[in-house]
């Protein structure tokens, strides 16, 4: 080997700790007297670090399901689309037929015919994806037009009248309407306000101070004493405890072993009442924590809906909040954004982050900004297109 290479080898041995202590000491002494050698050692160390980082990144990507998956999923995606397309058309034919038969009839007819369909599906290969989508699509047809009587709905125990009537939401589907009569207002009876008022959260305060010290240049909008954010009575710890007790994990989601994170937006009115605006389950995961997107999301449409609903419910029945105040100390309406993370095998959590949107003018701005479409509850899917297209075709045929 050339002498330059010999030197690289020596540095390598030093860095890997393969030198004897005496060798290392003499090498270090040499290095300290020789800036060129020192920088060579640093360069080589960085190169090795880069090599290791690259390899680690490959491992991380493998765990994240990025590398490799893209290639295989492309091929599978097309097949999946084809299967889904065929199954949706088939399902729609069946679905529309039953839909017609059932709409005028009582609920008992509906459930029995649904069972028939599901029984028919069971006779097919159960592992076939098409079957899953088939039954799913039929259920979807029912949800669209007929009463939705589901375990989860009963579980939530709330008044949809209040929920969907008074808040800003525009509900386009008629799925909720029938629930009105069955459910009762629970807010008053469940109000555990008094039990929390004596609790405080010192940790939270300490953390905030820490941030303030670290970041003196930040534009603190809501820093003054009078200008205060809305908060749960008693602070964060009682809030966490309360949610632990009152947040319900949807039965559908539990059965399907999915978990999710839901963003809930709501107003805290000057009198402390909480009015939920909307909620969005923007992260859906399986039991392992792998994120589910696209078709997998579609498959768990129902779980998503109940995640969103149960998260909303919890906020709707929670005790009155301490309202936000403006710089004069007057209570004002404020918007809050909180996140509910449903955890399958563990504690579900609620948390929030400062968003600087606590003043009334910001809330108004926000209202102008958010287009109506975004407030819808449904998830738009390609499957809907299939169904609609097929429906239109049928109507045309019928009119002939």
């Amino acid at each position: 080997m050339r002498s330059e290479l010999k030197q690289l080898e020596q540095i390598d041995q030093y860095l890997s700790g393969n030198m004897t202590p005496e060798q290392a000491t003499s090498f270090e002494a040499k290095m300290n007297g020789d800036p060129v050698l020192k920088s060579m050692v640093q360069d080589q160390q960085l190169l090795i670090q880069t090599v290791n980082r690259n390899a680690m990144m490959a491992e991380i990507n493998a765990v994240a399901g990025i590398s490799g998956v893209a290639g295989t999923s492309a091929g599978w995606g097309i097949i999946q689309w084809a299967i889904t397309g065929i199954s949706v058309i088939g399902a729609t034919v069946a679905g529309v037929f039953i839909y017609d038969a059932v709409t005028d009839d009582s609920t008992s007819v509906e459930t029995s015919s649904e069972k028939n369909i599901l029984a028919e599906n069971a006779s097919l290969n159960e592992n076939d994806k098409a079957t899953l989508y088939l039954s799913d699509s039929i259920r979807f047809e029912f949800e669209m037009g007929v009463d939705e009587s589901d375990d989860d709905t009963d579980e939530t125990n709330l008044s949809y009248d209040e929920a969907y009537g008074e808040t800003m939401r525009t509900t386009t589907t008629n799925e909720v309407v029938t629930d009105k009569n069955n459910l009762t207002e629970q807010r008053e009876s469940k109000d555990p306000l008094n039990s929390f008022s004596d609790l405080k959260t010192p940790r939270d305060k300490g953390e905030k101070e820490n941030i303030a010290v670290e970041d003196p240049g930040s534009n603190s909008i809501s820093g003054t004493e009078k200008n205060r954010r809305a908060s749960f009575p008693g602070g964060e710890t009682p809030m966490k405890n309360w949610f632990e007790k009152n947040l319900k994990y949807p039965g559908t989601a539990k059965a399907n072993e999915v978990q999710g994170t839901v963003k809930v937006r709501f107003f805290v009115e000057p009198n402390g009442k909480v009015k939920v605006i909307d909620s969005e389950c923007f992260i859906l995961q399986d039991a392992e924590g792998t994120q589910l997107d696209g078709f997998k999301r579609l498959k768990h449409r129902k779980s998503i809906k109940y995640f969103e609903r149960n998260a909303q419910t919890a906020f709707r029945i929670c005790p009155d909040w301490i309202p936000a105040t403006n710089s004069n100390g007057t209570a004002v309406l404020s918007e809050q954004v909180w996140y509910v993370r449903f955890v399958l095998n563990g504690k579900s959590e609620v948390y929030t982050y400062g968003n600087g949107k606590d003043s009334e003018s910001d809330y108004k701005k926000e209202l102008n900004y958010v287009p109506q479409e975004e407030m819808k509850f449904e998830i738009y899917t390609a499957e809907d297109d299939f169904i609609n297209a097929d429906k239109n075709e049928r109507e045309k045929e019928n009119s002939k």
Partner: protein, 183 residues
């Protein structure tokens, strides 16, 4: 897995199960980043970088865990995201729950060093595949030179060694040139 088991696995080089456990923290961290102006892409990038810093930190023999490992991971993410926001000339208040407030030193992050690594990373993509393979097998997988010589079809251990140092010389030289160009 307990925190100590995760650390032991990383030190042993058995990173995959450890990463799987750590990756479960991603959604929460992603929410943190999304809620202060980030997008999904940057959230993923930052989280992956944080895992690397965590593994480097944990692999050091003098590493001692002073909090929960997940708390430490949040701390690194918060630091990296704050750093990114600073680069974007924005510095909102970040109210992350259950995290540590860490300094660059705590995290093992050095701007100058990171820049150099970025360049070296580009260089590593320019050197031949054989060079990359040697590096990876030797430094990452910790294979012996004789195994590497056999795996990659070198006639002797010595020629594999010579090749390794030639690759190294070339990579460092290229990096120096790139650095000079950038300066």
């Amino acid at each position: 897995m307990t925190d100590q088991e995760i650390i032991a696995a990383i030190r042993k080089g058995d990173r995959e199960p450890a990463l799987k456990v750590l990756y479960k923290e991603f959604p929460k961290i992603q929410v943190n980043i999304l809620s202060s102006g980030g997008d999904e892409e940057i959230a993923r990038q930052i989280f992956h970088d944080s895992l690397i810093l965590l593994m480097e930190k944990v692999s050091k023999p003098d590493f001692e865990l002073s909090s929960k490992l997940s708390t430490f991971l949040y701390g690194i993410n918060r630091f990296l995201w704050k750093n990114e926001l600073r680069k974007r000339r924005r510095s909102p208040e970040l109210e992350w729950k259950d995290t540590l407030i860490l300094t660059a030193e705590d995290v093992g992050y050095n701007e100058e060093k990171e820049e150099k690594i970025k360049i070296l990373n580009q260089i590593l993509n320019q050197v031949t595949d054989k060079c990359k393979k040697i590096f990876e097998l030797f430094y990452f997988k910790k294979e012996s030179m004789s195994v590497i010589a056999e795996k990659l079809g070198f006639t002797s251990v010595n020629s594999a060694k010579t090749q390794k140092y030639k690759c190294m010389e070339k990579a460092i030289k290229l990096a120096k040139e790139t650095e000079a160009q950038n300066a």
